[in-house]
């Protein structure tokens, strides 16, 4: 018995690992039934794998049997891998047992499509329902929305899940068509829109009637695979921006493609996953969501690709030198946020602290800004008067010569010559 369950867990965790979402944040579910679990609003990473990714949820597939044959997916029908399927009780018992030992924040349940969408979705819902209603489980549940599942099933899923997600898979509709002819972005948009509307409707209702149940309290997210198809960074981020805006998504995840197939439409097995590119896309995503940048400022027809050697914030600043230097003691908060080397926390501290007197460079350093980077873009109380306008290329050279980025030492995903 124990050997069988170990084997299943190994197969179905391995098959689920390419879904990069690990977030357990954003839910407000409370333990008010004296049951097990209490959501942590900020989420908790209980461990990190050797690839440095967070382990927060028990992330598994219900089964890796699948009727589809998507080229980028390890569970595609034509792939010769071991197949397995959990029973409903097995998933429930694993989740409860892991949660009780403080291994996890909850369950992330996805599945290959067996028979059809409704059949698969119904199984996922049954597990979430059993955890909530029979086991009094208040931990985090992230359910995959199966495209094509009925609205009744999606509504029921939303009552038990904290977060739901559907993957766009490829950043553009054309890219998806190329690798997964059975799928389309429209299949994703429909359920995303339906759940978004249901969340809004129930929220409005809750204002009037207190007892309205929670419905996907941590919202929806999606994922795109990067580097399997030839989109530019601009296309990727414009697509992300559109989904953030139209579907009110909490997160878009960018997953550097890891070659898992000999399909000649995609990078070959053994080529490096585009980790740096992925990192730059996340930085851009953060600038859009927390730093008040519009995606068109960071990426546009003139600059369709993010710089490899410097981060997108520095890159933007160097393209817009006429806006700098700014005076730390008088500039607006929004502008301080745009200085390379100053984060949200430091920007807030600066704005509060400067009311007590003009800030000097030593104070800024103690507050925790990356001064060696920021100094080229700011003036403070003890700045020396400069006659020459700083020159972008010169500043870039100075910053790069001091930087110790780990990426400069790792070989990048270059095209093979032979």
């Amino acid at each position: 018995m124990s050997e069988r369950i170990r084997q299943k867990l190994q197969i179905l965790a391995d098959a689920a690992k390419y879904d990069v979402s690990c977030s357990s944040s954003g839910s407000n579910r409370k333990n008010n039934n004296k049951g097990l679990g209490d959501a942590s609003n900020s989420g908790i990473c209980h461990s990190y794998t050797e690839d440095g990714r967070c382990v927060s949820l028990l992330k598994i597939l219900l089964t890796n049997h699948c009727i589809f044959d998507c080229a980028f997916c390890v569970s595609r029908k034509s792939n010769d891998v071991q197949r397995a399927a959990f029973t409903v009780d097995e998933v429930v018992e694993l989740t409860m047992g892991f949660y009780r030992r403080n291994y996890i924040e909850g369950l992330f349940l996805s599945s290959g499509i067996f028979k059809n969408a409704d059949y698969t979705m119904e199984r996922l819902v049954r597990i979430a329902k059993k955890l909530r209603l029979e086991n009094n489980f208040n931990g985090y549940i992230h359910l995959k929305t199966i495209p094509g599942a009925s609205e009744e099933l999606l509504t029921e899923a939303g009552l038990y899940a904290d977060r739901m997600s559907i993957n766009l898979e490829m950043p553009t509709a054309a890219g998806l068509k190329l690798l997964a002819p059975d799928k389309s972005h429209d299949d994703v948009k429909k359920p995303l829109g339906f759940i978004k509307d249901s969340i809004i409707a129930l929220k409005d209702e809750k204002k009037i009637i207190k007892s309205v149940p929670k419905f996907v309290p941590a919202g929806q997210s999606t994922q795109m695979v990067i580097g399997a198809t030839p989109e530019t960074d601009m296309e990727i981020m414009y697509s992300a921006n559109e989904y953030y805006k139209n579907y009110d998504l909490k997160r878009v995840y960018y997953s550097g493609y890891i070659p898992i197939s000999y399909d000649d439409r995609m990078p070959m097995i053994g080529s490096q996953p585009p980790l740096l590119r992925e990192n730059r896309l996340y930085q851009t995503d953060w600038l859009m969501r927390f730093y008040g940048f519009d995606v068109h400022e960071l990426l546009n027809v003139k600059n369709p690709h993010l710089d490899i050697d410097i981060d997108p914030k520095l890159s933007w600043a160097l393209r817009n030198m006429e806006q700098f230097p700014i005076d730390i003691n008088t500039a607006e908060y929004q502008m301080i946020l745009r200085v390379p080397g100053i984060g949200v926390g430091s920007a807030k501290k600066i704005v509060m602290a400067r009311k007590f007197g003009r800030l000097r460079s030593d104070q800024l350093q103690k507050i925790g800004i990356a001064y060696n980077r920021a100094k080229h873009f700011i003036r403070c109380a003890d700045s020396i008067f400069q006659i020459n306008e700083p020159d972008a290329l010169h500043v870039k050279g100075l910053i790069l010569s001091e930087s110790k980025s780990k990426y400069l030492k790792i070989p990048q995903n270059q095209l093979a010559l032979f």
Binding site: I44, Y48, D51, L58, F98, R101, I258, A353, Q363
Partner: protein, 253 residues
């Protein structure tokens, strides 16, 4: 300079601040009994903890900085760090001697020092909520031994009480020789006669515990993507000193 020696408790620290304002020396150094090393030239004053005096300082601070900042003050105190005690003293003086709102002056060294230490203590608290691993004992109690850098047990009590409301649990601080016990109704502080080892003997554990440990290790291995291996990042997220708690990082004996 006068050296004020207090007993290391929060009450003692607050009493010392009270005494400073009553006795009005020019400047003092605040040292806990534990860190105190007798010196020749300075005058030493032994602070006797006094609940009333401590309360007056606490309430005085509360009036000036509010509940949120009081909690920060308390968290910084839990660092048990010698330099932080002195910073807390200087922070209090700065607050009492300035108009309200002074705690927002992040340009002031004491304000910044208290804020930064509070951040460190918070991080350790957060790590304990993440890295604690319970093992079920034969008595059906979920037990976890810890050795945190700072005294964070008081900060995680409610977190675990709310989360594990339907199971009895014990979290024991092996370094500070006390723990928390939740009996399905309330959390109590307990002191064991003999401080246990970090590794709990197998014969005290529930039969299925070994299987759960194995399943978790299996999961941890299977969910890793070898092509993305990045040990530097891994270790910066899970510093080696925490590996002793982690079922998934412990060596197989």
């Amino acid at each position: 300079m006068d050296i004020y020696v207090f007993d290391g408790t929060m009450e003692g620290l607050l009493t010392a601040i009270f005494e400073f304002y009553e006795r009005k020396p020019k400047t003092i150094q605040l040292v806990s009994q534990q860190h105190f090393q007798p010196v020749l030239l300075d005058e030493v004053y032994e602070v006797t903890s006094d609940e009333n005096k401590a309360q007056r300082v606490w309430q005085g601070l509360k009036k000036k900085i509010g509940a949120e900042w009081l909690l920060r003050f308390y968290k910084a105190y839990l660092s048990e760090d010698a330099a932080t005690f002195q910073q807390l003293f200087q922070f209090s003086c700065y607050i009492f001697d300035s108009p309200t709102g002074a705690e927002k002056n992040f340009g002031h060294p004491a304000v910044l020092a208290v804020t930064q230490m509070e951040k460190s203590v918070n991080r350790e608290r957060h790590r304990m909520t993440a890295f604690i691993r319970f093992e079920e004992t034969i008595d059906g109690i979920f037990y976890a031994p810890i050795e945190p850098d700072f005294n964070v047990l008081p900060l995680i009590s409610n977190f675990f009480k709310n989360r594990y409301a339907d199971q009895r649990w014990i979290i024991y601080d092996l370094k500070r020789h006390f723990g928390l016990y939740y009996d399905l109704n309330k959390v109590e502080e307990i002191v064991l006669e003999e401080t246990p080892n970090i590794k709990t003997p197998a014969d005290l554990l529930y039969g299925k515990e070994e299987l759960y440990g194995l399943l978790w290790k299996d999961y941890f291995k299977s969910t890793n993507i070898t092509a993305r291996k990045n040990m530097k990042l891994h270790i910066s997220h899970v510093p080696k000193r925490y590996w002793k708690y982690l079922t998934e990082k412990r060596e197989i004996e």
